[in-house]
């Protein structure tokens, strides 16, 4: 049975969330609570709806023409699906990192400064410099790029680009960071660095990560949700879910019978 209750007050509380793309239903009545200051992993086979669920948290599904989200999602007790909440200001609080890093065709500095400039987070150039440096440091990229901030962001390596995109998200000073398979285009070394970074960031942020790799989920997450065919099958502390799954489908998936 689905276990969605948490000890602490959750960051997000989802109740019977369904997502339709046109006539196709990608997510069926998902109930899930996401804890603050920790890593929650969403796993499941391709097309199970884990990315769709992730995009519910910052309303990125709004950018898809025929997507429709129903149910209720609250963030710190506040409804975020309602018409009165503005997706633009929501996304300033909920950052996101995508599968393939796509830096803007601008300099490294301008990439990181993109969000702060939009939201007016820095009043002076010195403040902006500080925000950029701080974000790059937290993303573990500062030492590598501090001497070439005016170079185009597209010139960095794949792993560096992914951390640049992370720094870009951090610069807006979000409360939540969503990650959609952030390591899938990285080599093992870059992946290890990214995982170490996530470990360090979880003290400050609520992190939700979609991943294909069960090993990765087991390594970095505190809680794991298993989705299958648009339904939340099981949600538990990571250790328990991987050692003692409550559902036969979870068992089959983590032992590699399908997926």
């Amino acid at each position: 049975m689905t276990n969605h209750s948490l000890e602490r007050e959750p960051k997000f509380r989802c109740r019977s969330v369904s997502v339709h793309y046109g006539s196709f239903q990608a997510l069926h009545d998902v109930d899930i609570d996401i804890m603050d200051r920790g890593v929650t992993a969403l796993i499941g086979p391709s097309g199970c709806g884990k990315s769709t669920l992730l995009r519910v948290f910052n309303r990125m599904n709004d950018t898809i023409a025929n997507a429709r989200v129903t149910g209720s999602v609250t963030m710190d007790g506040q409804d975020i699906l309602g018409g009165d909440i503005d997706p633009v200001s929501l996304r300033a609080r909920v950052g996101m990192v995508f599968q393939t890093p796509v830096p803007f065709p601008k300099s490294i500095y301008d990439n990181v400064a993109y969000g702060p400039r939009l939201h007016g987070l820095a009043r002076t150039r010195a403040e902006l410099d500080a925000v950029v440096e701080n974000s790059l440091r937290r993303a573990g990229l500062w030492d590598e790029v501090s001497d070439r901030l005016s170079m185009p962001g597209t010139g960095l390596s794949g792993g560096q680009q992914q951390r640049l995109v992370l720094a870009r998200a951090i610069a807006v000073d979000p409360e939540v960071i969503l990650m959609d398979e952030p390591a899938s285009s990285l080599d093992p070394i870059a992946t290890a660095r990214l995982e170490a970074l996530i470990e360090a960031l979880k003290a400050r942020y609520c992190i939700i990560i979609v991943t294909h790799s069960m090993a990765q989920a087991a390594r970095i997450s505190d809680r794991t949700a298993f989705l299958h065919q648009g339904r939340l099958i099981e949600y538990d502390a990571t250790e328990r879910l991987f050692t003692n799954p409550g559902d036969v489908r979870t068992q089959d998936y983590i032992t590699g019978r399908f997926g």
Binding site: D86, V88, S89, L118, H119, G120
Partner: protein, 366 residues
């Protein structure tokens, strides 16, 4: 924070409004262009005729004298009266335009009107007669024939040449080494040729076909050649795009069955690219039909009252006729110019419609 957000929201709304305004402007311009031509040209689609009896002496300012003369020579006066074209002046007066007639003329017209001798009908003259100095007798026959003959010649030359060039560049041209460099130069050359202003093709025609080869000015042959050169790069580019869109797995399949490269191209690739090539070529044809400037330079600006019978006869074309008529000061001429434009636009619509329909049919059959 929320005030900043409100400001950003306003900027967003402004931006969206600008987009809508741009579209509105373009659509308004379209409606204005087409609408003004329609409103002006509609008047010229009808014309007044007057029933004149055989022995009657009529004012040549009211009834086309040359038309009257022609009718009388034909001795068509069986029942004693004959329907004769009203002059542009009278026609404009009857259509309520701003034309001043003398009191005597007004009286005559009123009398005719009471006697029911004035009738308004479809302006067949516009389509069946050649050009004339008198607006009421001016027609598009010369121009239509000229356009037809020149387009036929241009298509006959440019289509095979253009398609052959596209096939060569797509399938047989060398890609590596010096040959590859030549191929790329040729491609760049064709792209540039497509963007060269059409008036330059007129200069080329004047310098080469008329001054160098010694062909006569303003003949259909030179016009057709110039239009063919103009169409050629368009056809090459369209055909190449169509050939490139044939998926390689299909040609690979044919090669695996032991077909030679030439057989693959002519047996598989070209038929599959057919609809695309056809559409592109027809659009090139439409472009050539509207072309004016190069034809002016090779001397197609003369007043022409005879439709060309062959390639070596002087000719004019529909857009050139539009240009020539647009010079006329009276409203009767601007009406006819607009009507000629309507005919031109109608033909273009027909051509484009045919291209779309053909394409849909050929695509469907595959």
């Amino acid at each position: 924070m929320s005030r900043a957000l409100a400001r950003r929201k306003r900027a967003e709304a402004r931006f969206r409004l600008m987009g809508r305004a741009a579209i509105a402007f373009a659509l308004l311009a379209l409606v204005w262009v087409i609408g003004s031509v329609l409103v002006m040209g509609a008047g010229a689609l009808t014309h007044h005729r007057v029933e004149v009896s055989a022995m009657e002496l009529v004012d040549p300012a009211l009834v086309s004298a040359s038309d009257l003369g022609a009718q009388q020579r034909r001795s068509d006066f069986q029942d004693g009266t004959q329907s004769v074209l009203a002059t542009a002046r009278l026609d404009q007066y009857l259509k309520g335009r701003d034309v001043v007639l003398s009191a005597e003329q007004v009286a005559t017209v009123e009398r005719w009107r009471e006697q029911g001798r004035i009738s308004r009908g479809f302006n067949t003259t516009l389509f069946t007669r050649p050009d004339s100095r008198d607006a009421e007798r001016a027609g598009l026959k010369t121009a239509l024939f000229g356009s037809l003959i020149m387009l036929a010649l241009a298509a006959a030359l440019a289509l095979p040449l253009g398609i052959a060039t596209a096939v060569y560049l797509d399938s047989f041209a060398p890609r590596r080494g010096w040959g590859g460099r030549l191929t790329r130069a040729l491609e760049v050359n064709i792209n540039n040729l497509a963007a060269v202003p059409s008036i330059v093709f007129g200069l080329l025609g004047l310098a080469v076909f008329i001054n160098l080869v010694g062909l006569a000015r303003s003949i259909a042959l030179v016009g057709g050649l110039v239009l063919a050169l103009r169409m050629f790069p368009t056809i090459v580019i369209a055909s190449r795009a169509a050939l490139e869109s044939v998926p390689p797995r299909i040609t690979d399949g044919a090669l695996c069955l032991g077909a030679s490269p030439v057989q693959v191209v002519f047996g598989t690739k070209l038929p599959m690219a057919g609809p695309g090539i056809l559409t592109g070529s027809i659009l090139g044809l439409a472009q050539a039909l509207g072309e004016t400037a190069p034809l002016l330079l090779i001397g197609m600006i003369a007043f022409m009252t005879e439709a060309p019978a062959g390639l070596t006869d002087p000719a004019t074309s529909l857009p050139v006729q539009v240009f020539l008529w647009s010079d006329g000061a009276e409203t009767a001429w601007s009406e006819r110019t607009a009507a000629a434009i309507l005919v031109l636009l109608g033909l273009l619509l027909l051509i484009n419609g045919a291209a779309t329909a053909l394409r849909a049919r050929l695509d469907h059959r595959r």
